[in-house]
Amino acid sequence: MKAAVHGAPGLSARSAARLGLLVSIAVTLQIAESLIPRPIPWLRLGLANAVTLLVLVRAGFRAALLVTAIRIVLSGLLLGTFGGPAFLLSLSGGMAAAVVMAFARFATPPLSLLGVSVAGSAAHVLGQLAALASLLRLGSSVAMLAPLLLATAVPLGLVTGAFVLAIHRRVPPW
């Protein structure tokens, strides 16, 4: 039985509940990660992005975009960064990652989830840097950090991708 959720045509109650669960997992991961001390402010594993990738693979682009947007807004509210620069960076990075991963899935020759995750990780870095440069006008400091952050996006993206691949293999299809 597919009961439509009020106000969200095409979204069954089952998938709405599942997306809600995934959002809460993503928010938990994002906040947990924000509590870990980091050598550079922008450097983090991006486990919340793993949820975006999983939803992208399992439920499609729209769902992934939705889960990512809600995750970022909720995390912003819970961390007290909503509307501030940190929030805007998170939003531009998260959205860039979701969009790029959606395209990367259909690349030829085909990328595995590891490659898609690396693309998303790099897009996240570039999205944040673009926001940093345009919104906050910090051109020179961005140029200093960009190469380092972009380089770290590869190993971090691979680790995140390995998580997603493992989960995708083990969790039965929805």
């Binding site: 998170s90 996006a153 590869v154 993206g157 493992a166």
Partner: protein, 134 residues
């Protein structure tokens, strides 16, 4: 199915396209890093008088810059990569007391004389953003 719990196993699980993409991103970041380092420009002091830019002074050469402020003469000096207001005809001399500035983002100001100096470019110094993204 092998768990992906070591770099070697992750490497083996990657497709050719995965490896090409990863290598490309690494190559771009290295080229970017080398390029950004090579073309790095020294810091420049942007001097504004009465809200209008009147000079851009590179901080890598010592210089003496006499200016005419709203109240009278005002002298800037560049020495050893730093800039300071060394003389100003203003009531409180807050500007001369601000001392030498060298880091990107640093400012000097003499409000009564309508002078504002902002340091731009150069390496990200103490003024680089902190804790921006979580």
């Amino acid at each position: 199915m092998t768990p992906l719990d070591s770099p070697k196993k992750i490497w083996q699980a990657m497709t050719a396209a995965d490896r090409i993409l990863s290598a490309t991103i690494l190559a771009v970041s290295i080229a970017w890093g080398v390029g950004a380092h090579g073309s790095e420009q020294g810091a420049v002091a942007v001097v504004l008088l009465g809200n209008e830019e009147c000079a851009r002074v590179p901080l890598d050469r010592d210089a003496f810059i006499p200016l005419q402020g709203r109240l009278g003469p005002i002298d800037l000096e560049v020495h050893g990569g730093a800039i300071a207001v060394v003389r100003s005809d203003c009531p409180n001399h807050v500007c001369t007391a601000m001392g030498w500035k060298r880091a990107t983002g640093d400012v000097l100001a003499c409000v009564p004389n309508g002078l504002f100096v902002r340091i731009e470019g150069g390496a990200a110094g103490a003024q680089a953003p902190d804790a921006v993204a979580r």
